[in-house]
Subunit: 247 residues, 2 copies
Amino acid sequence: MSSISKTAGIVIIGNEVLSGKTQDTNSYFLCTELRALGVEVCRVSVIPDEIELIGKEVVSFSRAFDLVFTTGGVGPTHDDVTMAGIAHGFGVKVIRHPELERRLRQRHGANINEARLRMAEVPEGAELLGEGSLYSSVVKMRNVYIFPGIPKILHERFAAVKESFREAPFHLRVVYVKEGEGTLASILNELLARYPKLLLGSYPVIDNPEYKVKVTLESKDAEYCRQAFSTLLSALPKGAIHRIEES
Amino acid sequence: MSSISKTAGIVIIGNEVLSGKTQDTNSYFLCTELRALGVEVCRVSVIPDEIELIGKEVVSFSRAFDLVFTTGGVGPTHDDVTMAGIAHGFGVKVIRHPELERRLRQRHGANINEARLRMAEVPEGAELLGEGSLYSSVVKMRNVYIFPGIPKILHERFAAVKESFREAPFHLRVVYVKEGEGTLASILNELLARYPKLLLGSYPVIDNPEYKVKVTLESKDAEYCRQAFSTLLSALPKGAIHRIEES
């Protein structure tokens, strides 16, 4: 089996996040969903609503990673410049997508206006994924999936396309340890020397009476992960294990 | 008064965030704190625990922004490579800071070991800010403030240094509007034409019976913000205002 995953980068677009008005939850949603799909998220970037910056960051991510996801900056107002930014970055025009325009005119009837029609704008060459309603369609430009910032709409649209990203899963085992990192460090170093391909994390907590460190072991190779876990459990000092989780 | 703020960038270091095991709350904490201090956060980046990547990103942020804040990757285990990464990026060695070493030896006594002494490591040339306990000292390398990833420790250490970042405040006014963005867009465009320096945000919500869009106006010039707000309120359709907030 291959241990190579598809890689992904996430670009969160929005002054409201940088200025602390809104707590971004979209990157956490995408990180958890993509991990569960076996995709490796390599980077998250939060940037302002500025055409040049959006273009530069998205194109840089598009070259560096297999998949890119953007959220935010999609809408009818002055600060919604994601489509313009991505078009600028790829050196193409912004066009009105005929199918999106048709749906918007159907939806708004006599109340259609220039602002509402901005919702049909996409970078030239973009595809429309998903069928049916305005809310379930995803705009894809090359390897970049463009989502709005409203979490509920992101969740619905991501659900419509997620199966196309599925890879071999990561296998995860967790042990909660009563000893601190000062004691664990050498045990973990020895474990990594024996299992160099293991994805090994060590996360201390404070003020928790039950355990001091959460240790995570991951691999796309289930047997490798199981063996490393067994090795670690044997190496821990007697009585140091608070709890284990296997998935 | 100046409308130029100090700028900041935030680098969140940690595989646990990218793999969806932990929801990062440190960037939101820093974004809200820095905004309240009048500092403009321009970018947040979440990157893996890798020396090369950390060095490259931190140095790039250090050149681009007045202030840089990192969280995560500080500790005694194999995945704690922030100090090594920042040292690598600036082309200096990692050294043991004498004062940190003294405190660690005092704290651990006979239980001191190599792993625990890793907590004294800093890039050569780094300063130690704050006095007294291990938990209140901040390591600063040039314009980069290095914090651990544990939120409680970050909060305590940030509190110890935050007043040194204080700038002229942002003035914020908010109006919650019952009309959608399709109606508001042209009103907001006209407002921006008249107040081009206004920081104007438009944030739609769905499934809320009380209002459809939160509109935010900000400036470091209190009178400019007040005038723009008054202009906007007059321009909104009769009955469209759900609620206003002035701070």
